[in-house]
Amino acid sequence: MKAKDKKFVIGGLIVAIIIAILAPFLASSDPDGLESAAEKILLVEETEPMFEAPLPDYLVPALGESPLGGAISIVIGTIIAFLAMVGLATTARWFKSNSNDS
């Protein structure tokens, strides 16, 4: 990777992680647009999720409903999203170099 690309990645990740840390402190805890509409007009019974996520509702279960647990879990998610995107995009490029070889 070129130096300026590396700089962009590091800078971009720092911005994302700062947002992730601040999010649970600054974000509104009001229901979002879909939840808010559902509270008023839902015609069916709400059901439980199909499976229990490891960090449900962006909280670390051991830390309860603290903004700290929120910050930790959102930072973890931000890094997972970054790595998963690198993985998927790199895989797509790998297919190209493979089809060029043949």
Binding site: M1, K2, K4, D5, F8, V9, G11, G12, L13, V15, I17, I19, A20, P24, A27, S28, D30, P31, D32, G33, L34, S36, A37, A38, I41, L42, L43, V44, E45, E46, T47, E48, P49, M50, F51, A53, P54, L55, P56, D57, Y58, S73, I74, I76, G77, T78, I79, I80, A81, F82, L83, A84, M85, V86, L88, A89, T90, A92, R93, S99
Partner: protein
């Protein structure tokens, strides 16, 4: 606007999964041809940024909040709505599997709404208005992307018998018309920031000059 489990009948979630998988096939083909060494990290940084921004719920009136989707941002930066499909697919999959945000059965519908529909709407509005004024086009692309996606959610939930048609469209449309102002503003700020630090990463700078700026 992440649809949870239980809001859509399973056979309908299956249809949305099929549409989304077809879209992902085209999106991966786009990636294969268009991603180079410096656009993989750009895409990954955008995925990280959008994940974090989606956790930042902004309050709007009526005791409601909302967050940006980011699909218009990605589509404009990369000059392709397929890029938005890929990034939102990654972000929504991570949210669903690790954080229980959006149902696993509804993941196909969520990628369809927030990736495909928001991405294509945002990109279409941007392309249509780009020549009039670049930054107005970017703002309106962001606004329209989330507004149209919310109407798609309302229609899906009405087809499922989960929301009534009229009230679903009114509530979803009203809330997201307001949240869209934030989406438009953040899209403008994010693209301004990239324009300032790395203009060569923006698709329109790549095509305008024929070769890449700042190489």
């Amino acid at each position: 606007m992440h649809i949870p489990d239980g809001f859509l009948p399973l056979w309908q979630t299956g249809i949305y999964y099929i549409i989304t998988i077809i879209a992902l096939y085209f999106a991966l083909n786009w990636a294969k041809e268009n991603l180079d060494e410096k656009r993989v990290p750009l895409m990954a940084v955008l995925a990280a940024f959008i994940f974090a921004m989606q956790a930042m719920n902004i309050p709007i009136p009526w005791g409601t909040s909302g967050h940006m989707l980011g699909a218009a941002l990605v589509a404009i930066v990369f000059g392709s709505p397929w890029a938005a499909v890929l990034v939102l697919a990654v972000v929504l999959t991570v949210q669903g599997f690790f954080f229980g945000d959006g149902g696993i059965t509804a993941l196909g519908a969520n990628i369809l709404d927030m990736g495909v529909i928001a991405g294509f709407t945002g990109f279409g509005v941007f392309k249509a208005l780009q020549k009039l004024n670049l930054w107005v086009a970017i703002f309106l692309a962001g606004w329209a992307s989330i507004f149209v996606a919310s109407l798609a959610v309302a229609i899906e939930l009405a087809l499922a018998g989960t929301f009534p048609y009229d009230l679903g469209l009114i509530f979803m449309g009203l809330y997201h018309a307001v949240i869209g102002i934030a989406e438009g503003a953040i899209t403008v700020v994010a693209i301004l920031a990239i324009q300032k630090v790395r203009p060569d990463l923006l698709h329109w700078n790549k095509t305008k000059s024929g070769s890449e700026v700042g190489k």
